[in-house]
Every structure is written in structure tokens, then in C-alpha cells.
Symmetry: C2
Subunit: 462 residues, 2 copies
């Protein structure tokens, strides 16, 4: 470790309590992007991020008011001849419900057993704060960075980053860089350091079935009219084949076959399927026939039901034929599926299955994202692997990601650069569920690792 690195790391260590307090203040902001009831939380989230950049010494920190939620940028380009990192993260968070399942309220951060609990702590407020704090410390201690940086923090990651592509397309010179380093994209497991080399895409649909004009007495009218729940379940049940594959014509047309090389690479990764299933509390792995659990999760597309509702769902019994029922569906996509095309194919099949006696409506969206895979020989990928090995003391595996980070595809197409993932969140941190948390140990490791990454990219060794 060089002197410079050691000095920065020491300064960061001395500031740990302040960094944790900043993260707590960040988590306290209810910046939920998918529900307009939280509009004030989103606005406050954007202001908080811009304030942190200014505090760090990023003088051009800017809140961009766009069609969707604001994007915050800032840059430091005073290291001529050195590479430029585009640092990506997001300040928006998932909805907090079901509220009753939280041990402490989602927007009241609480530290227990070395973990900071609160919505967004792990996805992505903790991880995105790390490079800001590292830059702040460099500029405070040394007055300069070893490389150039441009920050891009969005407020719609949990809502398909619907406006990110348009923003990037309109700000190509502001964002010009050599590589994107994403502070989003969780470590696969807490016990196994890994670098993510690809992520799945996503598209979404909502299906509405309308039956009678109002809820009807199921005795007086039962047998006379179509039941919207019956209609909806009959449609949904036909979207999967008995072997677990997706029964939508054309769905798999662009999917690359899983190669034997990919299968072998996955098979080499230590993975205890029973321990995984126990950790999520389910007795057996279920999915598409002919693929291992990790292959299904990383390399195969899915069609998932995220929510369904219709009729009377309160306590006891209410004998109604409901006036309507609806379901939310998302598909996870793999290279080279197109989100709009897949959403249209699913919508077409849903409409084709529409039963008699009801009105069925399918809405596609919001947003969609393609899958992404970083080229295997990318030098930044190799560097992040090495540094992660140093801070964790173990050789990281290359893994894919079942989830969606739209940026890889967006930055490749808009800026012509690849993306590596360098997040210190881990995938067991319940970030789309109640009781989300971020390990304070990960915060420390992340700070160290980002120092080394900047130092190494600046040519100063790490």
C-alpha cells in the first residue's frame, strides 16, 4: 500500500462515525420512486445528494429537473492524462410495505448487531455514499484525486430508470468517461466475494379484468355472470407451461442458448443449494426444467407475478362476485431479448386468452431495460476483481446477476463505454423486503476498496 492510500484510509477511519451519521440522515429520507405519494421524499433525496457532493468539494454539483425524478451530477476533471470514472448510483428506494413486518420503522435508521437497518440502506444509499466520502476525503486531505470523476446519481432506478437513457443521450459531454464504475449491484453473497459481469433486463405489465359494473351477491348472481377472478387466474395460469417454461409464443426466440462453457463456469462456483433455499425459507427450488438453479437465476428469463388482487380480502367471508381483479407481472430478460418486444408478446398472449364475459385490459410498462454483460477481458473488471480480493482476503468469483441494472446497456449504447460493478451491498440484505439493512463492515471495506480503485486507476498502485 502506498503512502497516499494509507493516509486517505486513515482519514476515512477517523471519520467513520460521521460517515455513519450521514448515511443515517440519508436513509431517513423516504425517497420512494414508484409511488407519487413520496414525491417530497424524492425531491429531498436529490437535494441531499447534491449537498453531499458540494460538501465533498464537487463544485459543479447540479440537480437536473427532468421529466421523471431529478438526476444529480457533479464532476472533478483536474487530473489531465488520467482516466475518467463515471460513478453511478441511485438515491431512490423501494416502497417500504408491508410496514407491519419491520422491526423498526423503515425510515428511522437503527443500528443492531453491526447492521444499519432502514429502507435503502443497502440499495443503494450505503454503497453510493462510499465513493462520495472517498472523494471528499481525497480532496480534504490532498486537495486532488488520482483520477478524474463524474458522478451520476438517479432517482428512478427502482422504477426502471425510465428517463436515464434520455438524460445520458442529452449530456454526452458532461458524462464523457473511460469506464463506468457502478456503486449499485450487490455482492452476490456475504460469504463469497464476487464481481458481477452481467445483469438481466426487465419489462413489466399490468393486467386488469373488469366484470360486472359493481360487486354482485355471489348467491343471487352466481352462475349468471363471469367471475373476474376466475377469468384472471385462467389467463395467468396459462402463461407458464407445466415444465416451468414460459408459454408465450416468441418469448425465447432471441435468447442465446446456455453454452457448455457457461454451464461449467457456473458449476465451479461454490453454491450450497439447500443452504440457499433454507436462507429464503422455501423447501425446494422450483423453475424451468433442464437448468440448474443458478442457470435459471442468471442466464434464463422469467415471468413473475408480483401482485394480484380482487374481490373481498378482509377478515371473514363476503359472498361477492367482484367487479374486477388485476395482477402485476414482470419478466426478467437475458441477452438479446428486447423489453418492448417481450412485453408486447406477453400482452398479445394475455389478450388471446381473454375469456368471455369480461373486459380484459393489458398495460405494458413502466419502462423496460435490456440485459447486460461486460466483456470477459475488460481491464477494469480485472482490476476490481484484484482489489476485492485484497480487501476481503479471498479470490472473488465472477457471477451474473438475476436482477436488473439498466445502466450497463444504456452507457454502452449512449457513451460507448463498458460498466463494472463495484458495490458493497450484499444480496442477503433484504433490500426489496422488510428490514433492509447494510453491514457496517461492508461500509468500511467499501471505503478502502474505492480508495485503492482510484489510486490504481490513477497509476499509483494500490
Amino acid at each position: 500500500m502506498g503512502h497516499a492510500t494509507a493516509a486517505i484510509e486513515a482519514a476515512l477511519s477517523a471519520r467513520m462515525d460521521a460517515i455513519i451519521e450521514t448515511l443515517e440522515a440519508f436513509v431517513r429520507i423516504p425517497s420512494v420512486s414508484t409511488d407519487s405519494a413520496y414525491a417530497a421524499g424524492i425531491a429531498e433525496g436529490a437535494r441531499f445528494v447534491a449537498d453531499q457532493l458540494l460538501r465533498a468539494g464537487i463544485k459543479d454539483a447540479t440537480i437536473h429537473q427532468i421529466a421523471g425524478h431529478p438526476i444529480v451530477t457533479g464532476s472533478w476533471r483536474a487530473a489531465p492524462g488520467k482516466p475518467t470514472l463515471l460513478i453511478y448510483g441511485h438515491y431512490d428506494v423501494q416502497p417500504p410495505d408491508p410496514l407491519a413486518a419491520w422491526t423498526t420503522p423503515p425510515f428511522e435508521p437503527a443500528i443492531r448487531d453491526g447492521r444499519l437497518y432502514g429502507r435503502g440502506a443497502s440499495d443503494d444509499k450505503g454503497p453510493m455514499l462510499i465513493p462520495i466520502e472517498v472523494v471528499a476525503t481525497y480532496l480534504a486531505v490532498r486537495g486532488a484525486l488520482p483520477i478524474n470523476v463524474v458522478f451520476l446519481f438517479e432517482g428512478e432506478e427502482e422504477n426502471s430508470s425510465a428517463n436515464l437513457e434520455g438524460f445520458v443521450a442529452a449530456h454526452k459531454s458532461l458524462l464523457a468517461a473511460d469506464i463506468t464504475v457502478s456503486a449499485d449491484g450487490a455482492q452476490w453473497r456475504a460469504d463469497l466475494p464476487s464481481v458481477i459481469t452481467g445483469s438481466r433486463g426487465i419489462c413489466s405489465l399490468e393486467i386488469f379484468v373488469a366484470g360486472p359494473a359493481k360487486d354482485l351477491h355471489s348467491g343471487r348472481h352466481g352462475g349468471s355472470v363471469a367471475n373476474p377472478i376466475q377469468a384472471l387466474v385462467s389467463v395467468l395460469a396459462r402463461l407458464h407451461a407445466p415444465d416451468g417454461s414460459i408459454a408465450v409464443p416468441g418469448f425465447y426466440d432471441r435468447v442465446r442458448p446456455v453454452s457448455s462453457r457457461e454451464r461449467q463456469a457456473i458449476a465451479r462456483i461454490p453454491f450450497d443449494e439447500q443452504a440457499y433455499l433454507a436462507s429464503v425459507g422455501t423447501p425446494e427450488g422450483v423453475g424451468e426444467a433442464g437448468y440448474s438453479l443458478l442457470e435459471r437465476n442468471w442466464l434464463r428469463p422469467t415471468l413473475e407475478y408480483n401482485g394480484i388482487i380482487g374481490g373481498y380480502t378482509g377478515p371473514g367471508r363476503k359472498t361477492v362476485i367482484p367487479s374486477g381483479a388485476s395482477a402485476k407481472v414482470t419478466c426478467r430478460l437475458v441477452p438479446d431479448q428486447d423489453p418492448e418486444e417481450i412485453a408486447a408478446l406477453v400482452a398479445k398472449q394475455v389478450r388471446a386468452f381473454a375469456p368471455k364475459g369480461v373486459k380484459l385490459e393489458v398495460r405494458t410498462g413502466p419502462g423496460g431495460s435490456r440485459a447486460y454483460a461486460v466483456p470477459e477481458g475488460n481491464s477494469a473488471l480485472t482490476l476490481t476483481e484484484r482489489i476485492l480480493g485484497e480487501v476481503t482476503g479471498a479470490v472473488p468469483d465472477r457471477v451474473r446477476m438475476g436482477a436488473t441494472i439498466p445502466i450497463g446497456d444504456v452507457f454502452r449504447r449512449m457513451l460507448g463505454i463498458e460498466t463494472v460493478f463495484f458495490s458493497f451491498s450484499t444480496s442477503d440484505e433484504d433490500y426489496h423486503a422488510p428490514n433492509e439493512f447494510f453491514r457496517l463492515q461492508s461500509l468500511e471495506r467499501g471505503l478502502k476498496a474505492w480508495v485503492r480503485l482510484m489510486q490504481a486507476m490513477g497509476g499509483g498502485g494500490a
Copy 2:
């Protein structure tokens, strides 16, 4: 019309405003039986009914505290040699949700266009108040009734009358009578006087599917584990065959075939299917193949989905694999199906369909009731038909009822007597939906008709 009848009718006319005020006070009580949050409303409902009986001059009015909601009885047996009527009604009401769909609040009665709006106004508070007011008027004007009466008002009709049978079995001498006249059981249509000669039974089930221990990120975990919504819809979708019949082995075993005489009788009843479908706001009638709409509704059993819920159902998108999903199901039964047997058969089939990777639980209940049909030649049936013809000026049709009134079967088995339905509610009055109402004209007709019924049964002509 005899002098006695005319005097009672005149006295009732003079009291109309007071009767409407009493009904409003009754509707104001939130006596919802299926949700324990309304326990105070149920208790208040029982007290109100007992108070009305005492006011009417029924000195032995009693609130019976039973295992379920209280039953209120009262009798007047001072007409030796005259027949005894067991007068049945219920003071409990359906849940009021969805609250937002009510023009005026469900428990704040409001009169608009000759209709009294409010939860329970039509089912069954208005209709059950009628015989109380008639008896009150007889006792006030003449100090005696032309027949003997015993009142039985329960608080669990909307919850399967789960404790009625046990109460009747334990109070056979208190309830001894020659015929039951039910103030519950709506007129089929507002435009067509009718007497109900039978009702369907009911049984109910709730299906719970448990998947992962908590909601999972549908990207990180999609493809790995079973989706409880997918599991639930796959089960539900298999409970009906493509022809609309119920795909549960044994379900139809005890069902009597629809006879050609029954088919002809139904075909003779004026029924505008398109007008009916328009009135409920649905474009086409849907149900079991091979039967007309009325045959399906009156003479064939059904399996209906009353409610379904799982996962994220709020605004926008939340990409989860939910930890669970559940559905509420009821079956309407016909002679000679047994509710417990049918619930067990459906539960068995649901369990047989349980997919891999989830835990499926089926709970049967609450309660169940057999279908009922009054013998065609019953003299009380003929009398109610005649009186209804007189007060409406039209010859009533004999109709069956798709809904469930458990009492017919209970009183036949426990007391050895038949039941006729003499309610002045009509089936378009939204009694299991928002904006339930009762026509004030029906209140007036009902008062007249009950006077004539008592007079005729007492041998005094009508």
C-alpha cells in the same frame, strides 16, 4: 277487506313517519357479523331488536347470549286454537366496503327518490321491521293478534347462521309453530312479484399458499423459487373445466338432474336476459354449458372466487416474489348436496393440485348450509302468493333463489315445519354491494301484506 284489517292498515299508515325513523335508527347500527371489529355494533343491534319487541308489546322479548352473535326471541301465544307463525329475520348486515363507492356513508341512512339508502336497509332490517310494526299496531289498536306468533331474529345470517341450528335444537318448545314465515329472502325483481320456493345452500373455503419466508427480490431470486401467486392461480384455474362446470370429482354426485318440468316452468317466467345483463353491467352471461342463465342461477351449483390477494398491490411496480397469496372461495349448493362433504371434496382437489415448492393450506368454513325447497302444494305458500297478488296487483311467479337462506333446512329438520318467504326486499337493492337501499313503497306494501297474512291465517279473511 274486513273492518279489522282496514283499521290496522289505517293505523299503520298514520305511523309511517315513525316507522321510517325507527328503520333509520336501526340502519345506523353497524351490525356487521363477519368482522369482529364490529362486535359493538352486533351487541347494539340485538338490544335494538329486543327493545322494538318490548315496545310492540312482546313481554317475553329476550336476548340470548350464545356462542356466536346473540339471538333475539319473543312470543305472543294468546290466540288458542289459532295457528302459530314463527317469524324469522336477521339484524346482522354485510361488511360495508368498498367504503369509497358509497354516495352517502353506509351507516348514515339517507332518503333519496323514495329509497332509504344504508347498509342493511334491504337485507334485512327493513323487511324484518315490518312484522314487528304490524304486531305492535295490532296490540296497540286491538290488544290482540289474530294468530299466535314467535319471533326469531339472528345476528349471523351473513356469516352462514353458524349457531342457528344449535339454538333451534335447544329451544324447540319456545319456537314451536305451524309454519315459518321468513321476513328475509328478497323478491326476485322489482317489476315482477314473485314468491321464493327454494334457495341454494353454501359452503366456503379459504386457500393459503406460503412460499419464501419473506417477499423476495424478483430479479435476485426469480427462477430459483416457486412464486406463490403462480402456484395459487395454477390451482384455482383447474377447479373449473373449459365448459364452465366444476372440475372437482364427486361435486355433482348428489345433484338432482334438472327435470323437463322445471325447465318448462323456468322458461315460462318473463325474463329479459339482455336487460338483466345490462343491469349488472356485464356484456354477456357466462356459466356452465347446457343450461340457461336462470337454470344455472337457481338449479345448478357454483364455485365462485370471492377474493384473492398476494404480493404488491399498491401504485406502481414492486418487483417481488411474494411470500404468500390467498383466495376465498364459496360454493352455492343445490338439493341434495351436503355442505361439509362438498367443502371437503373441493379441499381435497385443491390439495391434490398443490404445486412443488410452496406450502398450501386449505381451511373450510365458516359454516355451511344445505339448499332448501318448499313442497309445491304447501298451503302457506299458496296464501302468500294470493296476498302478494293483492298488494301488487299482479299474479306472482314462483321462483327459486340463487342465494342462501339456511333457515328452510334448519327449521324442517329441527322443528318439522316448512318455511315460506315473505320479504319485501327486492334483489336489485344492492344489499351485498355499495349503496344498498330499500324502497319506501316496499315498506308500505309489506306492512299491508303482513296484516293480511296474519288476518287470513287467523281465519278472518284478508
